[in-house]
Subunit: 190 residues, 4 copies
DNA sequence: GATGAATGAGATTTCATTCAT
DNA sequence: TATGAATGAAATCTCATTCAT
């Protein structure tokens, strides 16, 4: 197992276990076992349990940031680009349920550090710029940028959560389109 | 101190501490101290830590359910009633930040039991019925009910979270109206 | 077992084990077992291992301070009182070898806190005053007080250490008198 | 870096760290880092941590033994030679505080092996012979040799400790002479 | 010889829960 | 009913030592 593999295995194990048992329920010994390394080895790569979790957050946010702008093009219309962002992030979330659940837990825990918020800011900066463009072009409502961002993101998150919850209500393609349209109708200028 | 006071004090203490330190960071001894009772006393009222938390969740959801329908009237228009629900829950959340943060943590933790989801269902049942009415009257879009419910609730939650986050971005009355309008425009039929 | 007994049992166990295995070699689990309490119980009485050790130091120094002045009388001659102090502390040390060895380890470890030095000061203050009297009366040499104190105490410590070391060289009564005389001849004015 | 340099660097690092953090507080990884070698390298030169410490003790005692007899001459008077020894060792200690503190910790720890005592014996043998001479010549009191040795050594140690303690009481040249005189007056025949 | 990643036993400490008072 | 001292399993983290490179 190469060096980077062990670090990665620890992060992956931590994420899986947190989604299964929560922060508290995830003991370092469990992480070690799942990652296939010795307990002490984790501490060669990370200072503490907290650091494992924070680094995990950073890496997941980076991936989310990349997924967000995939196939995005500055040439598209605001509406097209909006739908692109909406579906991009939705798909990333439902295709990476562990990451999604981890993020939700992390974001809503009191551990969330200032650092975390900054990380978050970085990943979603492209969208922030996009929303600003949309407003300037008179296509989107002149809402406070951070608020619009929060409302839109909250919208997708709710949809993903619905799809991933074990209540046998998978979101269909049609429903995804309805949801995206709903979100769009809420921010566009009539 | 009357019997009910102790039970209530424990629940209140648990909630405050969970919002401060998370599920994990909240020790029963801390709860006992904050509630002004002995550690053992908690176990006269509750079976376990988990039961304290679950009962807390149930009680909080009841209060949320009551707040939701305050000043609601079957006679109002769908739009008015929608705005009423939206602002009712928004205000309850921002006026009870401990409850709100507790709910967010609880909802996103893997502890969430089936029982919890049922509780949730009960509290929001009136809104579900209302949405159905709106659809039947041709005012709201014929979206899957649970999805519409999730999208709308996720919308308010995002707004409340924005207001309560310590980033100095308090949501103004004007912004609340814009947000509610945005949500409404996303579900109404054009 | 009464409350105070458990606290005392922990301190006693810690002292015995430290003289046997050193600070490092003494695990809290060993202390618990020897004291006849559960590991967690120690933490009801003390904040940490360090606090156990520091409190132990404080208590031992108090006992040493009491032993030092036993049967001391302001009416005796300087010489008699000097011999009294010398033999008092010598006997306390050899009759309480665990305390003595613990003190030696503690004093020479880098853990020794400022607090420890103050504690030390308190216990030996009577002797400091006595030495000053002796100087003022022209019986003792006008040496810097703290230095004289250190030299005399170092003298007794060496003797006690010699007696307690497992080299089969027990110090006889005669040798004790010779040693005390030697110390006295070194500080008195000829 | 030559072979001997690494061995020496390890010993030096171990000594410095022990005086700073104690036996317990000194991890092999810290020693490796301070010595500028890899952790595993230490185990090419030494069997174990204990062996590093024991060898360190041996080497330090050798140096102390050499310093002790510097500029000593069999031709001098007993008194002059006594003062020579006293000041020699005092100066060595205060000029090599790390070695001194290490020795004090080592000597008072339960790790002190039989081997260590023998090492000690070797280093101070010249003084033992000298004291015997002094007694035979009728200049020194006919005290048990090991006791006299212990008392005198304890005397110097106390003085050095006083000087090195961080209580702002540096021992002056005059005080050193007073102390040596005090020690001498305690062992010479009146 | 030299490295330093890896190990895993064991250290300190926490904490949900019990039970004698 | 109420207490809070006591428990001991389990958590996080450390560290002497090994070994493949």
């Amino acid at each position: 197992m190469a060096v980077e593999d062990k670090r990665g295995a620890v992060l992956q194990a931590m994420m899986e276990l947190i989604t299964e048992h929560g922060f508290h329920g995830t003991a370092m010994s469990m992480v070690a076992k799942r990652a296939g390394v010795a307990a002490g080895t984790i501490y060669h790569y990370f200072e503490s349990k907290e650091e494992v979790i924070n680094q995990l957050y950073g890496e997941v946010m980076q991936r989310v940031g990349l997924a967000l702008v995939q196939e995005d093009s500055n040439k598209g219309s605001i509406k097209d680009r909006f739908f692109r962002y909406y579906t991009n992030i939705y798909h990333y979330y439902i295709q990476h349920p562990d990451e999604f659940r981890f993020l939700e837990q992390y974001t809503n825990s009191p551990y969330t550090s200032q650092l975390a918020r900054e990380e978050n800011g970085k990943a979603f900066e492209p969208v922030l710029l996009f929303l600003q463009q949309g407003i300037e072009l008179g296509v989107l409502r002149p809402l406070e940028l951070r608020m619009m961002m929060a409302l839109v993101h909250g919208h997708v998150i709710s949809l993903a959560k619905l799809h991933l919850s074990d209540n046998n209500l998978p979101v269909t393609q049609e429903q995804l389109e309805q949801a995206a349209q709903s979100c769009w109708d809420g921010v566009r200028i009539n």
